[in-house]
Amino acid sequence: MGLGMRDIKRRIKSVNSTKQITKAMELVSSAKLRKAKEELEKTKPYFNAMEDTIRGIFANTKGIKHEFLTQRDVKKTAYIVITADRGLCGGYNSNVIKLANSHMAEKQNKSIIAVGARGRDFFKKRDFDFDGEYTQLSETPSFSTAQQISRLALELYKQGLVDEVNLVYTQFISTINQKPTVKRILPLEISAEEGSKGSKTMIAYEPSPEAVLDYLVPKYVDGMVFGALVESATSEQAARRVAMESATDNAEEMIGNLKLVYNRARQASITQEIAEIVGGAEALK
């Protein structure tokens, strides 16, 4: 109890102002989360339709050779790591980074394409190879930035600078559940079983299946990157909301405890004062 009343009061004040900040952040991120979720809903049809078409092509054409589909000996792997620009969102950033790190442990040569300041700083500090970095976009991802990122990845892959490209992002499962995930985007892996579920119709490809794939695969990669960006943005807001909510709860609990201590100290000082007065009166008799 060693604290004086004034000290306790000061603590309460400081905890309270922290609480106000976390509460405000919680409200802001819930609003942003709602918006991000709408955005996520809107991008889903695009992504699904794209996937359906690609699957269809694989199911209907056998033995297509394409540079983005054939496996090469992996000498160098690129990682697109999507994190937030800012902290204060619980384990969101560290979970992504941790997963990326453990995945990278098995690879000999790797390079990073960092999206978001948090991931960039982390890998910069540890002297990783960088192929690119993008910041200030994690909250409102646009399709054109997604395109920039995927074009960079495709270019690196085409020139043989990397032989594999992985995407590390956070899957949005629900408001309280987000899962960091690694997905390989190049070379493309599309399983035949899933692809063959549809009817095997003869489909005409104009001008040729290869030409269609030439066009489609980069678009598909664009779409995957964009999907990952949007999903990560949504996860970020969700993670921040949850983190801020529990911070607010903790602050409230702390204030409660401090108030108890404060009242006890107050009572003790009153009791002491009375005792002193009584003592003084007694002495005068």
């Binding site: 049809p45 695009y46 339709a49 078409t53 119709t201 005409a204 104009e206 269609v212 964009f226």
Partner: protein, 134 residues
Amino acid sequence: MASKFHLQIITPTRTFLDEEIEMVVLRTVEGDMGIMKNHIPMVTPLSIGKLKINKDGSTREAAIAGGFVHVDREKTVIITDSAEWPDEIDVNRAKEAKERAEERLNKGTQDIDTLRAEIALKKAMNRLNLAQRR
């Protein structure tokens, strides 16, 4: 009245169209093409251009920026980077984009930027064309 089929036009940010229509005329990389009900299943990339949609005797037009079309038995899906009705086109923005692209082309450096500027120019011209004819 001609029989109808299902057409979906999907962009990364929204579902642009999801309706039963009679005919759609597209500009593919190999030339214009009309699709009606019971078209043979096919996939082909589209070039930057306009789209004509016939439904109940009326025709609507839209600007699309590339993409591809997937014709299937049940439905036809157009997946594109962007699609706009004429009244949605931001004429000023398209004009600015056109000027920017022309400027870049005039500099005449031969690299990836030229290619990009050409595409941007095409997109801008396409939007302006459609918006002005309204």
